[in-house]
Amino acid sequence: MNKLKLPLFITRHVLFALVIGGLAGMAFILFLIEFDHFTSTEEFCTTCHSMELTADPYRQSVHYAPASGVRASCGDCHVSEGVLAATWDHFIGGKDLFNQIFGPDYDDPVIKALHLPEAAFAARRWFRAKDSATCKRCHVQEAIHGTRPDTLLIHQEDAKGKSCIDCHYNLVHRRVPDEKTFKREKWNRMIEQEHDLDPGAADVLLAN
């Protein structure tokens, strides 16, 4: 009976390296998956006080407490699917930690509200660039019938060439106008009224 022979280049060292390398590769991927999973949870995201301010409106939204009981967590909407894409998102997201530590005091509700529009616009651009891929994790366009008679038609005809985020924004977090119609001046005055600030205080806070 012929014995199975290994190719000559597979020496004891090569076998050893393959086994160790394989195990290290498995550990790498497993830890990456666990890391992505852990850092996508609401529990982790809200460890920064500023994120609590973002999470409050989310907890009143239908994405947090829908009748069906299907809850979308932070990562479900804001982190791409797949370990490599999710890892990339977290790598890029590292800049938020830098801004949180060295940037303006986002823990202050006024500062947070003043900077919110830019954050909202950036998030909407991200959704648009991804063709609302994270929305489509749960929502299937062809299956949206709705309760109104025109819902089906809108999602079949009017939605052609559009992404979910083009129509469906301001669903979860504090309402921010569309980037095209946004007026910084009006927004600042609104925040001043909301927090009983002197006129012009918002501009000073924003400039600092």
């Binding site: 790498f28 830890f31 590292g94």
Partner: protein
């Protein structure tokens, strides 16, 4: 450019640094999740450093490998004693 001159030592260093980065990265992530208190962003910093170390581990290994297959370097590597 001197960094790109690959010898037997450099190859070994690449593998050792990769292993160290991977192990330290995993330990830091575990520490960030389980041990480090949520004080002065320590938890986040430890997690980020661990994450970056873990990400750079395969990058270093792949870069070392790619440099080692360059025609000149490959000839040098063949002369290494294993």
């Amino acid at each position: 450019m001197k960094l790109l001159v690959l010898g037997c030592e450099t190859m070994r260093e690449g593998v050792v640094v990769t292993a160290i980065f991977l192990v330290v990265g995993i330990v830091l992530i575990l520490a960030g999740v389980k041990v480090v208190p949520d004080f002065a962003y320590m938890k986040h910093i430890v997690l980020l450093v661990g994450f970056l170390l873990m990400l750079f581990a395969p990058v270093i290994l792949v870069s070392t490998f790619l440099i080692s297959v360059l025609p000149g370097a490959k000839k040098k590597m063949d002369e290494c004693e294993h």
